[in-house]
Amino acid sequence: MSGAIRVAVLDYGAANMVSITKALAAVGAEVSVAEDAAGFAGMDAVVVPGVGAAAPAMDHLRERGLVEPLRDWVRAGRPCLGICLGFQLFFDASDEGGAETLGLLAGRSVPLVDAPTLPHIGWNSVNVVRSHPLLDGVADGSYFYFVHSFAPVPSDESIVLARTTHGRPFVSAVAQGSLYGLQFHPEKSSEAGLRVLANFLGLVAASKAGATPKAGVTAPAADSAGVA
């Protein structure tokens, strides 16, 4: 494949950077770590990882001057993937510590309701509600790894790609334009997770080429997911 996809993973002190950078590299991305706004330069896509609490995560993003560059990036329609806490931060606010978050998607993060165990840790099935290239090749009900106690409730139902049930159903994947969010950790979800990351790279490649990928079209980098 020519013209590797360059992906910046935001390091704001709230994530397992090794797993996400190595998983992206395993599916063919050229990965760098962005600790400040300069890290966005020359990139094709940005990944916002993260575990932990929303309020301190926002503080760290602010301290490193990453909030506005990230908002600008997403508002310019450039590809961005949020994972777990990174995904929750895309919304307006979180009930976790009453944090005001990035406001890129309408809605707020709330505690999981009626959860039999908290945190929700482990492999749970992802039920696809809308076909999308991000979840291409992911069978309905496939297992992914989750670690969280909160989940976002989007105001706009049409962005929801998948739901997962722990107590009550919550939103486990969304897409709005080039902004993608996953409540599970693809970098910890073995082959299925690598498949989703490969699909993301495929979407980035398509947007780079100026094309809009159609649902059902195999992402260019997806082949490598099976061997990693």
Binding site: N16, M17, V18, G52, G122, W123, S125, H185
Partner: protein, 266 residues
């Protein structure tokens, strides 16, 4: 539905996987990262490394092991043994681990659980509890079991009762409990399901069963009767007596939700 996890545990000494009986007669069994990757391919839902390196011989060897493992096995990784402070936990997480398990260090200083949970979130803090059944008092036949917490691989006793300590550990910030029956550990006589259930029915966090696995049926019992959310074993996997998929097959046949490797592969 949340799958019940199957977790191989690897003892790591000076950066190598070792096998032995009660920390004696250790034999080199290979590279932790390589074995972890193999287990991940076989369908392990998570990997636990237990660092048994003597304190004076550590010097970041475990961090290097964690780094190499997280670079090639894309499943959750927990590291136990030898972590005694928030800063040490930070280093282990930064190397690529997802959780750190505290045993003796948490008994010695329970506030460590709180400090680490505040800093990294309770999802990253596992409290490992080694429990030994207390003898039944005379005339108390049929009374519910009681267990004491032991440390240093069972060599030291404490004045903690295991169920009470489990509940306290959760209050302090532990997001998961790894419960090992020292009576069953290494005996291949099955899990202590009474101990597991006594704890699992009193806490809201996931409980990982450990100690005593002899075969796939024991995993089923640990979940069904012990109410465990996950089951950990070492020797039956290392000795290739059973594979992770053998265990999952038995669990699925018993109607338990498990992640079958076929579902994620092609």
């Amino acid at each position: 539905m949340l799958a019940r996890r199957v977790i191989p545990c690897l003892d790591v000494d000076k950066g190598r996987v070792v096998k032995g009986t009660k920390f004696l007669n250790l034999t080199d069994e290979g590279d932790p990262a390589e074995l972890a990757e193999r287990y991940a391919h076989e369908g392990a839902d998570e990997i636990v490394f237990l660092d048994i390196t003597a304190a004076h011989e550590r010097r970041g060897t475990m961090l290097e092991v964690v780094r190499r493992t997280a670079s090639r096995a894309f499943v959750p990784l927990t590291v136990g043994g030898g972590v005694r402070s928030v800063d040490e936990m930070r280093d282990v997480l930064r190397a690529g681990a997802d959780k750190v398990s505290f045993n003796t260090a948490a008994v010695a200083d329970p506030t460590l659980l709180t400090a680490c949970a505040e800093r990294f979130g309770s999802q990253a803090v596992v409290c490992a509890i080694d429990a030994r059944r207390l003898p039944v008092e005379a005339g108390a036949d049929g009374a519910p079991g009681r267990w004491e917490v032991v440390t240093h691989g069972g060599r030291r006793t404490t004045d903690l009762e295991a169920v009470a300590w489990a509940m306290r550990a959760v209050e302090l910030g532990a997001g998961e409990l790894l419960v090992t029956s020292m009576d069953r550990d290494g005996t291949r006589s099955g899990f202590d399901t009474e101990l597991l259930a006594a704890i699992a029915t009193r806490v809201r966090v996931p409980v990982i069963a450990s100690g005593g696995a002899a075969g796939p049926d024991d995993f089923v019992t640990a979940v069904r009767d012990g109410k465990a959310d996950a089951v950990l074993a070492a020797s039956i996997f290392h000795r290739r007596m059973f594979s992770v998929s053998d265990v999952k097959e038995a669990m699925a046949a018993a109607g338990l939700p498990v992640r079958r490797i076929e579902e994620s592969g092609e």
